[in-house]
Subunit: 194 residues, 2 copies
């Protein structure tokens, strides 16, 4: 085998992720830890009742303001009729499940790449139980949020079951959204007096 | 004023919410607390790299499976180029901010209605700081999730500043997503062996 063939045989992508770009990013962060500091942002406007809309575009990271997005993403929260809405959108606690599913998935796929594991299929089902007596202020002993969130993951990959379980455990511990849910994270609110 | 005029003068909606429906819902929950138990769900499928997609439709609540949605909501997580993606969608930590913004807003508007306060305008800006050394596993002392989330709220309403501040404090304590972020909530994952 010639040297050039050996280079060609190296995968440029694993799980759809550019391996060299990942290696370069890690090297840059190790050389300058401040590049790992990100700030994400959302702007939301109330529409009516349980309907409100967020726009998401800019963020700070890797040492600069990001300018890669030509337009804003826009998402609408709503509520079903049983919660006084008209299904204008999924509701906020459902969007939280979407965020958690996506984060655990991306963290899993990323660290699979780092371990050279090719994922063939990956899907999750999430269920979160909540007692709305908390939201409504009917019983102070009932927390307003989710009691627990359960995730079932179906995954097919080119590795052993033990490697999959190790990877899954690692992904759960290193997923930013999962960590934000599992850990108490302060939310600080300030009313702007116009 | 005749009795019928007095009835007509009662607002049927405050802040876009049906007051009588809210009163009836609260009365039903007080009579049977099991009606307050909800289960929300999401199904997510990995597409490629940092792209994955959730569908959200069914949930259980108020004593039955909900059938009000004619179709599923569908949302795509993606990542920006600096995080090895192609902006296929907002990313999971940004969707978390959307969920939080929407939940604080809806909780605020709901409890404003309960207090008879009419909201004229309401918008929020959220910022969350995160150090990606956590996600990448480069430093075990760095949490993977948000360090803190800051919300700035602009609100105009037919009440005093003191009433607004009381309402804001109450909404923050009773918002399900805010409570899920502020409190440690267990996330339990199970790999389905097909």
């Amino acid at each position: 085998m010639t040297a050039s063939l050996a280079v060609a045989a190296q995968p440029t992508h694993i799980n759809g992720l550019n391996v060299q770009a990942a290696v370069d990013t890690i090297a840059a962060l190790k050389a300058d830890k401040s590049l790992a500091r990100f700030q994400f942002r959302a702007r939301n406007k109330w529409v009516n009742g349980g309907e409100n809309r967020s726009t998401i575009r800019d963020f700070y990271g890797a040492g600069q303001e990001d300018t890669s997005r030509a337009a804003s993403f826009e998402f609408t929260n709503g509520e079903p009729p049983v919660l006084l809405g008209d299904n204008e959108g999924a509701n906020p606690v459902e969007f939280l499940l979407h965020a958690l599913a996506g984060c655990v998935t991306t963290t899993f796929v990323l660290h699979a790449m780092a371990r050279g594991i090719a994922i063939r299929e990956l899907s999750t089902e999430l269920k979160g139980n909540i007692d709305l007596q908390g939201l409504l202020g009917l019983d102070d002993s009932v927390p307003a949020g989710y009691e627990q969130i359960n995730i079932q993951m179906h995954v097919k990959a080119d590795c052993t079951d033990q490697e999959l379980d190790d990877l899954l455990n690692y992904a759960l511990q290193h997923s930013p959204v999962c960590n934000t849910v599992c850990r108490p994270v302060p939310v600080v609110i300030e009313r702007i007096k116009a």
